[in-house]
C-alpha cells in the first residue's frame, strides 16, 4: 500500500515535470504568463479594495475577510488548474475517442485523465493567493497552515464539481460548453462576499450551488475557528468527491469511443 502510494507520487511528479517542459515548449515565456495572471487577479482584487474602502463593510465583511476568500479560492483553483485540470477535457476526450489512451494503462484512468493537462500560468494564482493571505492581516503560522488545509479542501470541492459536470458528456453529446459555463457560474458565486447571501439564498449557497464551501465556511474557519465548521467542510467535500468518482465510473460504462482524428 505504502509502496504503491510512493510509486503514484513519483509518477505524479514525473508527469508534472513533463507538463512544465510542455509549457515552456508552448510559450517560451511561461514566467511572463505567471506574472500576467497575477496582475489580472490583483486588478480584480483592487476593484473590491475600492468598494470596501468606500463602503467600510458589507454585512460584517471587511476587506480582510475578502482577502482571505481570495487567498483560499486562488490557492484552491491553482491546485486544480495545475495538477488536475485534465478532467475538464473529458467531454472532448469522449467526443474524439482519445479517452481510449487513458483506459489502456495500468494506472487509474481517472488519475491519468486528471494529470493530462496543466496550465502553467496558474502558478500566478498561487502567487495571488499568498499575497492576499499576507494582506488579510490574519498572519500567523497556525492561520497559514489552516489556510493551506482549507484551500486543499476547496480544491477537492472544485475537482468534484468539475468532474460531475464533465461526466454529463457520457450521457449527452457536446456538453463541453455547458460544463464550462456551470463551472464558471460556480466560481463567480464563490468569489463574492459570502455575507450578501442570507436566508434561503444562504441555504442554496451551501447546498445546490455549494459556493459557500469555497467562501463562507473557509473564511469562518480562518477568522472564528470552530471544529464543527472544519468537520462540515471536510464531510461535504469528501462526500461530493465520492459521488463524483462513482459518477465517473458509472458513466464510463456508457462510453462508446469516437473516431475523430486527432492527437493527445
Amino acid at each position: 500500500m505504502v509502496a504503491d502510494f510512493v510509486k503514484i507520487c513519483k509518477l505524479f511528479f514525473y508527469i508534472q515535470k513533463s507538463n512544465v517542459k510542455t509549457a515552456f515548449f508552448n510559450t517560451g515565456d511561461a514566467v511572463v504568463n505567471i506574472l500576467m495572471m497575477t496582475i489580472n487577479n490583483l486588478s480584480f482584487v483592487f476593484m473590491w479594495w475600492v468598494i470596501f474602502h468606500n463602503k467600510g463593510s458589507i454585512n460584517g465583511w471587511t476587506f480582510s475577510e475578502m482577502a482571505l476568500l481570495f487567498a483560499v479560492s486562488n490557492n484552491a483553483f491553482a491546485t486544480y488548474a495545475l495538477f488536475a485540470r485534465g478532467i475538464q477535457n473529458i467531454p472532448e476526450y469522449i467526443a474524439n475517442g482519445s479517452l481510449d489512451n487513458y483506459l489502456v494503462t495500468p494506472r487509474s484512468s481517472l488519475f491519468m485523465i486528471s494529470v493530462s493537462e496543466s496550465t502553467f500560468a496558474n502558478w500566478g494564482d498561487y502567487l495571488t493567493g499568498f499575497i492576499m493571505f499576507f494582506l488579510s492581516g490574519y498572519v500567523s503560522w497556525s492561520c497559514f497552515f489552516l489556510m493551506l488545509f482549507v484551500s486543499f479542501m476547496g480544491f477537492i470541492l472544485l475537482y468534484a464539481l468539475r468532474l460531475i459536470v464533465s461526466c454529463f458528456a457520457f450521457f449527452a453529446s457536446d456538453t463541453q460548453r455547458l460544463g464550462d459555463n456551470m463551472f464558471m457560474a460556480f466560481l463567480t458565486f464563490g468569489m463574492q462576499p459570502a455575507s450578501i447571501f442570507t436566508g434561503w439564498y444562504k441555504i442554496l449557497f451551501l447546498t445546490i450551488i455549494p459556493a459557500g464551501f469555497l467562501s463562507l465556511i473557509p473564511v469562518r474557519i480562518l477568522t472564528d475557528f470552530h471544529l464543527s465548521d472544519l468537520g462540515l467542510m471536510m464531510g461535504y467535500c469528501f462526500l461530493l468527491l465520492f459521488i463524483a468518482i462513482r459518477f465517473f465510473y458509472f458513466g464510463l460504462k456508457r462510453y462508446t469511443s469516437g473516431n475523430r482524428f486527432g492527437v493527445r
Binding site: K7, K10, L11, Y14, I15, S18, K21, T22, F25, N26, N96, G97, S98, D100, N101, L103, V104, T105, P106, R107, S108, S109, M112, S173, K253, Y255, T256, S257, N259, R260, F261, G262, V263, R264
Partner: protein, 306 residues
Amino acid sequence: MTDIIKVEQLCKKFKIKKDSSGLKSFFKPEYKTVNAVDKISFSIKKGERVAFIGPNGAGKSTTIKMLSSILYPTSGHAEVFGLIPWENRRTLSKHIGTVFGQRSQLWYNLPVQDSFNLLGKIYDLDEIKFKRRLSKLVKLFEIRDLLSHPTCSLSLGQRMRCEIVASLIHNPEILFLDEPTIGLDVTAKEIIRTLIKKQALEEETTLLLTSHDTDDMEKVCDRVIIINKGKLIFNDSIQALKDSYLSKKYIEVTTEDGEKIRQEINTHQIPIKKAIDDLVKRYHVSDITVENPPMEEIIKEIYKRD
C-alpha cells in the same frame, strides 16, 4: 498451443438518436439500436498474426476496443490472457499493447524520448530493463534520429513507427493494431508492415490488426477474420480465403504487334488450360501472364455474397 484470446457470442449495441435537429427531438428524442457487433465467436492462439477485415462500420474497431478493455459489451463473453478485459482493465494493460492509427499516445509537444520515458514510468518498468528494451526497439524500428524530435514535428509515417515502439515498451504479449497504416503513403505503409511483422516474428507477439487495406492483411498476417454488419463471415487462413474465393483469373496476352489483350476467366466454367489454348489459337502471342484477382476484389466479392 493455447488460446490467448477467446470470444464467445460477443455483442455490442449502440443507441443512436434518430434526428437531433428541431425542438421535437429535444423534448421527445427517438433512438434506434444499432448492432455494431452481433454474436461473434472466435479464438486466437499465442503467436498468431490475425487480420480483422471489414468495411466501414462493420464492427472491427468496436471488437478490438472490447478486447482491449476500452468498451463494455452488451452481452457475450471474452477472455484475453485468461482475463475478462472490461473487468480487469489495469491488470490486462500490462499484457497488451494498443496502437490506434487515428490518434496518438505520444505527448504532442514533448520529444519522443520523453514520451517513452513517461510511458516507462506509467508502466512502472525497471530502469535498466526499460533502457535495454527501448534500445532494442529503437534499433528495430530505426527511430534513433527521431528521439530528440517533438511528436508534433514528425511525419505521419515517422510518428506511426514511434507509436508502435510506444505500445511495445512494456513488452506486451498481444498487440492490438487499429488501422496502423491509415493515411500513410505507399512507401511508409510498406515500412510499417515489414517492421510490424519482423517484431512479431522475433518476439512471438500475438497480433490482431484491423485495416481497410487488404495488403496489410496479406503482408503481415497469416490468418484473416472478416466481419460485415457486425457478423463474422469468414475465419480461416489467408491461403484458405484465396482457395475458396478464387474462381476468377486474369489472362493478359501481348501479341507480336505489341497489342495487349486482357481477359477475365471464371475457372469454374472454363478450365484455365482451355482458355489459354483459345487465346493462343486466335492471336500471334509473344507473351502471356496469368494473374489472380487482387485481394481487394476477393474481399469485395465476399461482402457482396454476404
